[in-house]
Amino acid sequence: MSKIKGKVWKYGDDINTDVIFPGKYTYTITDFNEMAKHALEDLDPEFSKNVKKGDVIVAGFNFGCGSSREQAASCLVAAGVGAVIAKSFSRIFFRNAINWGLPAIDCPEIFDHVEKGDEVVIDLEEGKIYAKGREFSFPPLRDEVKEILMSGGLINYLKKNLEEEK
């Protein structure tokens, strides 16, 4: 989990949950593989057809704003997205991403330096992103949050902890 390698999908500011996973599907599409097919449907119909495991979304400010719907994060996991790097994240999306084991990385600097299709390598332990011969740093996650992410999400984290309590 600590190293992620993939190609960039680049989007702008205020990418909201309705274009990431439309509200009309929130109760009708619950199968994980089916969810993957609708990821970013109203924003970029090409995304779900061509995304590869480990690919990385690079976006502007306020990624994931809008609804609290967790599918906005889980559909990206289902689609194989390795991480989302943004200038900033909407609060609930950030939590949902971490809770699904999807790294949500605050790194505004990288935005102007990569384009769609560029390859990036993310080192979560080191707090570094490598792209086009350059290196970008991002602030480490708080320990409490990192533990959830590294457990593969909140549910796995809870299972582990409840197991230890027994």
Partner: protein, 419 residues
């Protein structure tokens, strides 16, 4: 150095003497709210390996997102929830005839000063109008609270708005909150607690205040707090409050990240144009835009006062023949009151369709989904592309007065012309 409301209440709820902005705390919420997504939450809950919820008395479930069920999927979803509620002895369960969660929780006494309410819905910020700390969380997090009774939160920095002045005629709290969002942007208060203060807020009714707290999340805020006053206490006196009221104020010398002052004496009607809430226009800029549908209601503007405003405008008039006017009162209590007051008769005579209290087409589920190329003016809180079920449609957001006047004229219109 003084503390903000957010710092004080999160210290109490995490059992600490004091906490400061930036810190991560583990809190025990007073209530955890969920709605039709409770079926999905119950599935996640079961996957944790717990047999029964740890805190049935803290769980509040309201069926409102697609009620009554529009299809087999929705119906089965409701069934799973009803069975789970019964198996786990969850008493605070509200059936499809109660209303929209953000109206039902205040009505039923879950929104009060000092309450910590976490809800699996982004507009949980609404209860800030009653002096509660309330914010949205995800489904897994709701399941985590069902299993453990607690959750981590970051103590937010606080932005304070000081809003003064008398609102002009035909201008409402919806116009004010749209103006704020237009100015600071959809991420203007990202991850921050927001406090709304000043004599404009003091003068507002609770219904008007709820519009602002409801939409606090549209500026990215974690909470939209207002200092509880006599109006809140009078409201609470009339209902069965479900917890201990604990009035928590920010200290006079609290440290704010920012203080923003505004004067509303010359505020004009505002409209959010497609496809983002912060794409806010003066009414003059969008006036004349032809509409196909007008939506009055939702958790933002579906209260009795909102229906009264619309009825006053629509009395003795007819809506344009090319417009469908859909009315969604926010709760059955409001529905009954509106019926008793004769509001429905006025709206029906004008050509409106009155629907039962639920989220309806606001999130594109049913009861008024838009066709390709259609335009809707709505009192709801979001106008994202595809929000009302069709990515090729266009949603404008405005006050109940703007929606009512526009329905008559068949195009977006200035409600001040009515007054």
């Amino acid at each position: 150095m003084g503390k903000t409301f957010a710092e004080k209440i999160l210290a109490r709820k995490s059992g600490k003497n004091e906490v400061k902005a930036g810190e991560i705390v583990t809190v025990q919420p007073d209530f955890v709210m969920s709605h039709d997504n409770s079926a999905a939450i119950s599935k996640i809950f079961k996957s944790i390996g717990k047999k029964r919820v740890i805190c049935p008395e803290k769980i509040v479930i309201v069926l409102d997102h697609c009620a009554p069920a529009a299809s087999e999927k929705y119906a089965n979803n409701h069934k799973i929830i009803r069975e789970f509620v019964s198996e786990n002895g969850i008493k605070n369960f509200y059936e499809i005839n109660t209303g929209i969660c953000h109206q039902v929780l205040p009505e039923k006494g879950f929104a009060y000063p000092g309450a910590l309410v976490l809800g699996s819905d982004s507009h949980t910020t609404t209860y800030g109008a009653f002096g509660a700390f309330s914010t949205g969380i995800g489904r897994s997090e709701a399941a985590a609270i069902w299993a453990t009774g607690k959750l981590w939160l970051k103590v937010p920095e606080t932005i304070k708005f000081v809003i003064n002045g008398k609102m002009p005629k035909g201008v409402y709290s919806k116009d004010l909150v749209l103006k704020i969002i237009g100015e600071i942007g959809a991420d203007g208060a990202l991850y921050k607690a927001v406090e709304f203060t000043g004599n404009t807020i003091d003068e507002m009714s609770l219904s008007e205040r709820m519009v602002i707290s409801n939409m606090a999340v549209e500026m990215g805020a974690k909470i939209g707090y207002m200092k509880p006053d006599e109006k809140v206490f009078e409201f609470l006196n009339e209902i069965d409050v479900k917890g201990e009221v604990e009035v928590v104020f920010s200290d006079e010398d609290a440290v704010y990240e920012k203080v923003i002052e505004m004067d509303v004496s010359h505020l004009s009607p505002k409209v959010s144009a497609p496809h983002t809430v912060d794409n806010v226009k003066d009414i003059e800029e969008v006036k004349g835009t032809k509409i196909n549908q007008a939506l009055l209601g939702t958790c933002t503007n579906g209260r009795l006062e909102d229906l009264r405003i619309a009825a006053k405008i629509l009395k003795g008039k007819k809506i344009d023949k090319n417009v469908r006017l859909l009315v969604f009162p926010a709760s059955m209590k409001i529905y009954k009151e509106a019926l008793k007051e004769g509001i429905f008769e006025i709206l029906l005579d004008a050509g409106a369709i009155i629907l039962n209290p639920n989220c309806g087409p606001c999130l594109g589920a049913h009861e008024g989904v838009l066709a390709d190329g259609e335009v809707c003016i709505s009192t709801a809180n979001r106008n994202f592309k595809g929000r009302m079920g069709n990515k090729n449609s266009f949603i404008y957001l405005g006050s109940p007065a703007t929606v009512a006047v526009s329905a008559i004229k068949g195009e977006i219109s200035d409600p001040r012309e009515f007054f």
